[in-house]
């Protein structure tokens, strides 16, 4: 009973959030949705450019920018907490950090990892020092600034959401305009440079967009997790496709969906901070895709398994063909088959079972099997491929007939029609005919 009530209230709360009944929730949800879409699409280019961790440096570097902007604004007698002012400071600091990274890479022997790490920690250290100063300023109850480190999505105001929305649209429009150029930059920098495209300027554009997204994200999810919104959606999309359009759109959708769902969950369940939960949703999608994605672990494993099963079946078919060829009888005993290759009785039984399911072999009775008409056709093709390749090796690669069997054994499964045709032409074999084997086929171990 208890559980049911808890469930009901949970569902009610989720429904309230889903239907956007609370004014506060509406703005939070819309804000993070726009943020997720924007950072997903920018992140796709960032990850493809292999610059994922520069986002880490940029986001940590925004902290001193925010603190300096605050001090400057207070110094000029303005209200220090103007959001736009702080974001401009953060943006400038982010670009500066990127410039220093490039400078370190160009003028020292340190690689990008060290350059990023140095810039990240020094800028952040400066930021922490300045925050500790800001806290002493009479105007600056710096509590507001500190929220940039961990983010505070729940405190999002309509104005903030509007700002995020407008900037996100601008970002995505920019990406759409420079889609082709940025794509080329990501895939083939030197080609772009050779064509005379301004690689530096494009890189600067991309960095600027990344800094912009980061700046928007830090007030929502905090500066550590801002990186996650850039990297994780893009990496998730890359597990499904390698086509640029698909990756960019997919990445935006993953980002948007995670942000939306995260905001929903956070609005529904008490004590669930929005930023981290968005990142956890996003990471779950990534790990799901890591296993189930089209380029993920499971499909790759399945593809490999299906290939190796096909290879096994074809080995059985070829063995059958060779036995029929030498004995001139349609009936094949399992004992003969067993002697053809170095397979165990159980392995053979399993493969024969699979062949029967595929309709290429039929059991006559007990230990005797026969090829079906389809099985005969397939066996003929495999044997043909095998012997054509053997003949090719013997005639054109000057390999002794006694040494060609093993090589042909591997290649027979993957010869495609075009290749077979050119082999036929090369060897003067007529289509369809099965050539003689260039070496003796010993009944006990065709594979040897």
């Amino acid at each position: 009973m208890m559980l049911a009530t808890a469930d009901a209230t949970w569902w009610e709360a989720f429904e309230r959030a889903l239907l956007l009944r609370d004014a506060n929730t509406v703005w939070v949800v819309l804000g993070v949705l726009a943020l997720g879409l924007a950072s997903g699409s920018v992140g796709a280019f960032l990850v493809l450019r292999r610059r994922a961790l520069t986002a880490d440096a940029i986001s940590h570097a925004t902290l001193p920018g925010i603190a300096v902007a605050f001090m400057v604004m207070v110094g000029m007698g303005l209200a220090g907490k103007s959001m736009i002012g702080l974001l401009v400071g953060a943006y400038i600091a982010g670009l500066l950090a990127m410039a220093v990274i490039v400078l370190i890479q160009r003028t020292t022997r340190l690689k990008d990892d060290a350059a990023i790490g140095i810039v990240l920690s020094v800028f952040f250290g400066v930021g922490i020092c300045m925050l500790s100063l800001v806290q002493q300023m009479p105007a600056g109850n710096a509590a507001g600034l500190e929220s940039f480190i961990f983010g505070k999505a729940a405190a999002m105001l309509p104005g903030d959401a509007l700002l995020i929305g407008i900037v996100s649209v601008v970002i995505m429009l920019t990406l759409a305009i420079f889609f082709k150029e940025l794509g080329v930059l990501c895939f083939d920098e030197s080609w772009a440079a050779a064509r005379g495209w301004p690689v530096m300027a494009l890189d600067f554009l991309l960095t600027g967009l990344v800094a912009l997204v980061t700046v928007l994200a830090i007030q929502t999810v905090g500066l550590v997790l801002a990186i996650a919104l850039l990297i994780i959606p893009a990496s998730t999309a890359l597990l499904w496709s390698r086509r640029l359009v698909v990756v960019v759109i997919g990445s935006a959708l993953v980002g948007g969906f995670s942000a939306w769902l995260g905001a929903m969950l956070s609005a529904t369940i008490p004590k669930l901070p929005t930023g981290p939960i968005i990142v956890l949703v996003c990471a779950s999608l990534f790990f799901l895709s890591l296993f189930l994605g089209r380029r993920g672990v499971l499909p790759r494993w399945l593809a490999r398994r299906s290939l190796s099963r096909r290879v096994d079946r074809q080995h059985v078919l070829r063995a059958c063909w060779e036995i029929i060829e030498s004995s001139d009888e349609e009936d094949i005993s399992m004992g003969d088959l067993l002697a053809k290759r170095s397979w165990s009785e159980r392995e053979l039984a399993t493969v024969v079972e699979r062949c029967m399911r595929a309709g290429t072999i039929e059991r006559i009775d007990g230990d005797i099997v026969r090829l079906t008409s389809e099985g005969r056709e397939r066996a003929r093709r495999v044997v043909r491929n095998h012997r054509l390749w053997e003949a090719y090796l013997v005639h054109h690669a000057d390999i002794a007939p006694s040494h060609v069997d093993r090589d042909a054994d591997a290649i027979e499964h993957i010869l495609d029609e075009d290749l077979v045709k050119s082999l036929e032409q090369l060897l003067g074999a007529s289509a369809g005919e099965v050539p003689r084997s260039p070496h003796a086929i010993n009944g006990g171990g065709g594979g040897a």
Partner: protein
Amino acid sequence: MTWQLYDTWVVITGALCAMACALPGAQLVLRRRSMMGDAISHVVLPGVAIAFLVTASNDPYVMLVGAVIIGVLTTLLIDLVQRAGKTEVGASMGIVFTALFALGLVLIRKAADDVHIDPHVVIYGSIELSYLDQIRLLGWEVPRGAVVNGAALLANGVLFLLFHKELKITAFDESLAASMGFRPRLVQGVLMAMTAATAVAAFETVGSILVVAMIIIPGAAAWLLTDRYGHMLLWTLLIAALSALLGHVAALIVPGWIGFEGMSTSGSMAVMAGVLFVVAWACAPQHGLIVRFHRRVLLSRRIAMEDILGLLYRYEEEAKQDAAALTVADVREALSVSHVMAALALRGVRGAKQVQFQTGGVRLTEDGRVAAQALVRTHRLWERFLWERLGLRADHIHDTADRLEHFTSEEMAQELAQLDDAGEDPHGRPIPPAGE
């Protein structure tokens, strides 16, 4: 502001912590894996949170074990993501550590009523307060932070001494190490565990910023200062300790200059590490910016000086006996270098007594003529070679020879002379004889 016992202990604690982090950090820099330090320092938070939730105790040793486990787990997870998803290494790190960091934040928030882990402390540390938490060690009252970080430093130092050879060889050449029977992946795993344990020992005192700064910066700076592994480790330790000292001093003094009272000590130590890095970047003996700039200026000056000699020699060669000498302005114009460089080169040839400045203009001295003759000889020998042997067109070879003449040694000139038998360059000008 007076220096007190308190300040000494802050510096000692900071220095021990910085040195402990910097040792494994130097290895990470050599392996181009510095950002693993960043990743590991971020997962300390979830590590501690999970350790607390599982064991319901905040015994520091439990926290240590928890964080080491999650540190090693992070390494494995990053490896998995990288291999299974064919994801780039940077992105793999980013995915894993942000996800774990988010998990840590959620767990802490969920258990906020019972846990006394403040995320802010994780980031900032509390080195300022570490002095207050003292324990007895061998009859002395010592801050616990100093003991913990000192122990970490000692452990890392011992491991580095014991496995000196393994660490060194796997850092520079993994495949060579593997072929020699070392196990690079195992060594890397141990290194990661070390980094994680050190980061946990350190973060309570100095927070994760300083941990990241100290893992990466001293090693990177030391790698600019020297090419030798042993020296690099010593520099690393020195830079780490120095950033702690300077950092605390700066935290005491700098705010006073701009009218504030105090500043985050750990932040300031990170900044000072950065300052030391910039110093190393600029002043390193072999790879420093200043040395490299100086080298380049010297080279340009030598080339410009040689161009002046060649110019004057050719002018003498072509001019009538009593023609007026070239003026300084003429020389300047003929050299295609900046004003400053021209002035430097002119002063150079004058100082070497190769050129005389007279009222009428500039003339070669006897010494200068010998040097100029050798130079023009090399130039024309090259032209001859390029034209005769390489078959380049006569009107295309001057610029190439112009560049080569500055980098041709005595022996090379002799070899070139062997090829030549005409005594003339392709333009029909005589090739001067070698000076004695």
